[in-house]
């Protein structure tokens, strides 16, 4: 058994001339798990991945991957990781097979092993039929799968995926998800970044929410949802002019202000006891003879969890800078 975590980072700091990209990121990813780094653009996800994959040197803190220090033992780290960056780094002018064989050679397999490995990977990622075509004509999902295959040449201990489905259509996302699940099922540790919350929800065992260069919450997808209340009460006004009245009404009854989506005339609010809240609000609406298009209870999405969790931090730091 391995006595070290697949990824361990303490207090990672990275400063650029004008900004601080990371301001103390801590991570611990056990072997064989899929860990998500969830955050908006510019939150520090990519910088974290770049440090862990030895592409960027941190200004502070420590990090190790597969037990090797990313700063002082980068060569050892590179032998044990795979990286799929934001851009698909495959050669558009070489066939899928030529691409994988070339990367195999650069991973120091001999010619025969590199070719055999290329064929295995083409099979694993369902690309055998496209093996002799150039990725230029591939769909987004196929390109990504080829990119993933190239990261899997040495069957790395830890696979880093930086926004693996950004820019893909729904079919492409599903293909890539399936490939990632397959790799995870075989025991590859995966660290992925995403700003798609459903993606983190579907793929990850644990999620670190990261914003403004700090990760402040780590939990399971279910745990994250629990943190923001069990249920959401949702109201849709028939007439957008009623929004103000409805907002006041809900605030008065439930004691907290609802989230407004004015474009859709929708109000939503996190509630502890969904049924009681629904009954009370519905009764008051009919008593005041307000007209609504819809009312209901639903489980929170990760999007809401995410907004709920990051917004206070964003506001605080805005005040600090003023």
């Amino acid at each position: 058994m391995k006595d070290h975590p697949a990824v361990a980072a303490q207090g990672l700091v990275k400063r650029y001339k004008k900004s601080t990209a990371l301001d103390g990121v801590d991570l611990e990813v056990p072997h064989g798990t899929v860990h998500g780094l969830l955050g908006p653009n510019g939150s520090g996800k990519t910088t974290t991945v770049r440090i862990l994959t030895t592409l960027t040197i941190p200004d502070g803190g420590q990090a190790s991957v597969a037990g090797w220090d990313v700063r002082t033992q980068s060569r050892e780290v590179r032998r044990r990781i795979g990286l799929t960056g934001q851009q698909t780094a495959v050669d558009d002018l070489m066939t899928a097979r030529q691409n994988l064989t070339m990367f195999g050679r650069l991973f120091r397999l001999n010619r025969i092993d590199a070719q055999r490995r290329a064929d295995e990977l083409l099979d694993t990622f369902s690309l055998t039929e496209a093996a002799d075509r150039t990725p230029k004509k591939f769909s987004g999902g196929m390109r990504r799968r080829l990119d993933l295959a190239a990261s899997m040449i040495l069957a790395p201990e830890v696979l880093f995926l930086d926004e693996p489905t950004t820019g893909l259509d729904p079919a492409g996302r599903r293909e890539v998800w399936e490939a990632i699940r397959h790799l995870a099922a075989q025991g590859t540790t995966v660290l992925l970044t995403t700003h798609y919350l459903d993606e983190a929800d579907k793929l990850c065992d644990r999620i670190s929410v990261i914003d403004q260069g700090r990760n402040f919450i780590e939990d399971t997808p279910a745990g994250l949802k629990r943190r923001i209340g069990d249920e959401w009460l949702e109201l849709v006004a028939s007439d957008p002019a009623d929004m103000k009245n409805l907002e006041q009404l809900v605030t008065r009854i439930l004691g907290t202000e609802p989230v407004l989506e004015n474009a859709e005339a929708r109000l939503s609010i996190s509630v502890k006891d969904g049924v009681a809240a629904l009954t009370a609000v519905a009764a008051e609406i009919s008593a005041q003879r307000l007209d609504i298009a819809d009312i209901g209870l639903r489980r929170p999405t990760l999007d809401e969890a995410f907004l709920h969790l990051t917004t206070p931090v964003a506001e605080n730091s805005l005040e600090e800078t003023r």
């Binding site: 592409l55 032998r79 991973f107 120091r108 490995r117």
Partner: protein
């Protein structure tokens, strides 16, 4: 989907200095092969790239050449012989744009990051680029020399001198490869790389490539004469034993020392740009 076997990595956990050099060479070869797969895959792009200097040769020799009097023996007289060495030198000089574009492209596409996250030789992306671009330049020279022979250019020098001239040309190209790598690493994206023409044209044309610097206004002539491209052009004119050249007195000191300058200039360029390129490559990690 089949199951991925976890491969043993013991085979390459030990790496001694000697084998590091060998791996450096092997990785370099892999990258050179990648570059040449591109050429084979895109024959039309290659044809366009090679077509540019060929069109330039024809344009300058026939359009401008007929009005130029470089030998003092009348317009157009001996211009092919004067212009061809310049054309060779110009092709070498402008080649750094191709290098810069390729480097920027690789950076932009995430290739550089992928290579840097792999256990391959860290010098291979640079050496591979340099080797394949020098080979490319050799192919360029062969094609242009072929066209030149067709329109009546002949080397007046011995076989040895002629070969030496081509070695000097590749020497200049090699030096400028590192300028290209440095610029390619500095430049943000390939659109910006296209604007390198603004740098490349003065470098190529404010020189003795098409016009003797003596015919330019004083200060510009001095700049042109001291341009490394001019030194190589003048040196190879000498090696090709270009007729009409020997009757001209060197107007600038460096003209009289063109051979030495054609050897030293590229060395100076490399002394400056190799460290700069290495530093820029490392700073990708900052």
């Amino acid at each position: 989907m089949t199951t991925l076997k976890h491969q043993t990595k013991d085979a390459h956990t030990e790496e001694k200095t000697g084998s590091r050099v060998i791996w450096g060479i092997r990785d370099c070869r892999t990258i050179v092969l990648q570059e040449f797969t591109h050429l084979l895959r895109q024959p039309s792009t290659f044809a366009w790239q090679i077509g540019f200097p060929v069109v330039m040769v024809l344009m300058f020799v026939y359009v401008f050449g007929s009005a130029m009097d470089v030998t003092g023996q009348g317009a157009g007289e001996g211009y092919v012989d004067f212009a061809m060495p310049g054309m060779f030198a110009l092709t070498m000089a402008l080649g750094f744009m191709d290098t810069a574009y390729a480097v920027t492209h690789n950076k932009e596409k995430g290739f550089m990051d992928r290579f840097r996250s792999m256990p391959m030789s860290s010098s291979a992306p640079v050496t591979g680029r340099a080797v394949s671009d020098v080979i490319r330049a050799g192919i360029d020279l062969v094609v242009i020399a072929g066209v030149a022979l067709l329109i009546g250019w002949r080397s007046g020098g011995s076989l040895g001198a002629t070969l030496a001239a081509f070695v000097l040309l590749l020497w200049l190209r090699l030096a400028l490869i590192f300028v290209g790598i440095y610029l390619g690493l500095c430049i943000k994206n390939t659109e910006t790389a296209g604007m390198l023409f603004a740098v490349a044209f003065p470098l190529g044309f404010i020189s003795s490539v098409f016009t003797p610097p003596e015919m330019m206004p004083g200060w510009l002539g001095a700049v042109a004469a001291w341009n490394p491209v001019s030194s190589t052009a003048t040196a190879i004119r000498d090696l090709f034993n270009t007729p009409g050249i020997e009757i001209m007195e060197p107007a600038y000191w460096i003209d009289g020392h063109a051979m030495a300058a054609a050897i030293i200039w590229p060395a100076v360029i490399m002394a400056v740009f190799v460290p700069l390129a290495v530093r820029q490559f490392k700073s990708l990690g900052r």
